[in-house]
């Protein structure tokens, strides 16, 4: 039943916001309706039209809210006029309500560029994902009160900046704020690897669920397809990516029999279909790279020339220093470690990378491949001193220590 409620939550909220326009109050009303359902349905049974039931209960709450506001402000006429006339008459709970799905409008509102990334993420998880504030707070390791404030400020920003509740145009979708937010949520979950952070891996599942939903709403958008494929192809390696103590296991040392074959097959199908249909974009390319890795039986058997070609195309889309670093790794795999190192020497001039721990880590790996033991140890240690990730630090120091013994 929890599953059904979370599936319905964005549709119900979308419908209520469309009718009453007040996002913040609608969100509160829908939370109350979901709570009522969670209490009543286990004994009374799930109604025949659960979505209509929830919309109706939330609408009643909205009317109550509007009335109490009106009483408080003594401005009944103005406020009541905000309620469309057809809704000033109560409806029967199961009366059919039009089946228009407002989820996309809702998602676009929550990911609006007027909001900061952390607010977009929090609001999306709450309003579209149907997670409770406490669940989101736990996932991001902040107090519940802080997360509640973040969400209510985000709602206030939507109200004050006049973000329209409207379906995004193709152009707005292509700007990618919705996709980027889902991608950030996925990363939050996927990169969490151990201990107290284990709970955060639920975020990866949630991001995949939301990406599936977006894909269902816009099945012909190649980048949305690419994003879903990228998540599936990356997540397929999740269990192999960490050891028993939560330590990071790099791609070339992972037990590939533990990769999720069904998920890989689904991701490969999606990205192949998207590539065949339309213009390529960065998510499709990243998904294609992930697919090449996923389909190889080992690092040596990986089609590195293909990966190098894909990174070259990706660099044209995305001036991201991490992409440039991965491109350098691909160069090293195709043309040798020395060629990779000379590419790194060029990248070092980019101030975003000069002191970045990953530049040091990649150089350490390449020096190791060249047999420069002392250089590799030095750079692993320098990378370890610069990273803010505990899992990454531990991996880099283990790598340095292994070289010291060998």
């Amino acid at each position: 039943m929890i599953h059904l409620l979370r599936e319905l939550a964005p549709q119900v909220l979308g419908a209520v916001v469309r009718r009453y326009r007040d996002f913040a109050a609608s969100e509160d009303a829908v939370q109350e309706a979901l709570f009522a359902a969670a209490q009543q349905w286990p004994t009374s049974g799930v109604p025949d039209h659960p979505r209509a039931w929830l919309i109706q209960v939330a609408s009643r709450r909205m009317v109550d809210h509007v009335r109490s506001e009106a009483a408080r402000r003594q401005r009944e006429q103005i406020v009541v006029s905000l309620v469309p006339p057809e809704d000033q008459l109560a409806r029967a709970a199961d009366e059919a309500i039009d089946e228009h799905d407002d989820t996309l409008e809702l998602l676009f509102t929550c990911c609006h560029p007027a909001l900061s990334p952390s607010s977009q993420i929090a609001l999306t998880l709450r309003a579209v994902g149907g997670l409770t504030t406490l669940e989101i707070a736990k996932a991001f390791l902040v107090p519940e009160a802080t997360m509640a404030q973040r969400i209510s400020r985000a709602k206030a920003t939507i109200k004050s900046s006049g973000v329209p509740f409207a379906a995004p145009t193709e152009a707005e979708l292509a700007t990618g704020s919705v996709m980027h937010v889902l991608y950030l949520i996925f990363n939050e979950g996927y990169t969490a690897s151990s201990g107290a952070e284990l709970v955060r891996t639920d975020l990866a599942c949630e991001a995949i669920r939301l990406a599936r939903m977006l894909h269902r709403l816009r099945p012909d958008d190649p980048e949305i397809t690419g994003l879903l494929a990228l998540m599936l192809l990356t997540d397929a390696r999740r269990t192999a990516r960490t050891g028993p103590a939560g330590e990071l296991i790099p791609l070339d040392e992972q037990d590939r029999t533990r990769w999720d074959r069904a998920q890989i097959a689904e991701g490969v199908d999606l990205v192949t279909g998207a590539f065949a249909r339309a213009a390529v974009g960065p998510y499709q390319i990243q998904a294609a790279i992930a697919a090449v890795h996923d389909e190889a039986v080992s690092t040596d058997a990986t089609d590195w020339p293909q990966i190098l070609a894909l990174y070259s195309v990706l660099l044209g889309f995305d001036d991201n220093p991490m992409v440039a670093l991965n491109h350098a790794i691909a160069i090293a795999m195709v043309n040798g470690a020395a060629a990779g190192l000379s590419r790194l020497a060029e990248l070092e001039r980019d101030p975003r990378l000069a002191e970045h721990h990953r530049l040091f880590a990649v150089r350490a790996h390449l020096l190791e491949r060249l047999g420069d033991r002392a250089g590799a140890i030095d750079h692993y240690q320098r990378a370890a001193a610069r990273t803010t990730s505990i899992a990454e630090r531990d991996y880099l120091l283990a790598r340095a220590a292994r070289k010291e013994i060998s």
Binding site: A145, R153, Q286
Partner: protein
Amino acid sequence: MKFMLMMNTPTGGPYQIAKWPHEDFRAHIAFMKRFAAKLGGNGELVDAQGLAGPDQAKLVKGGKDGAPITDGVFPESKEFLAGFWIVDVDTKERAYAIAAEASMAPGPGGAPLHLPIEVREVMSVPPEIK
């Protein structure tokens, strides 16, 4: 990204709040409360605590058997931690802006203290993997 903002102050330095005129002390505490409430209201505050004075502090280490050996903090210790904030923000620039605001807490006569605030990122998982 989470950051710890540490308000370090030299022993015997300007942060002798107990010796300030009472209304200046009250203005300072009111500032700190308002500041924490504001960060909470922004959805940025993870935690904020003021620490008891250094004369209450002990230095503790494990002895040969692992039992605690306590010692008073020596008066010549150069600086002590008066309090800290942990904030969760989108950028390090935002953490610096918060630190600068804390640094301007009022001191004697209501003048800003310009206290140095040490800003340290809390280790976490990598922000993005490409």
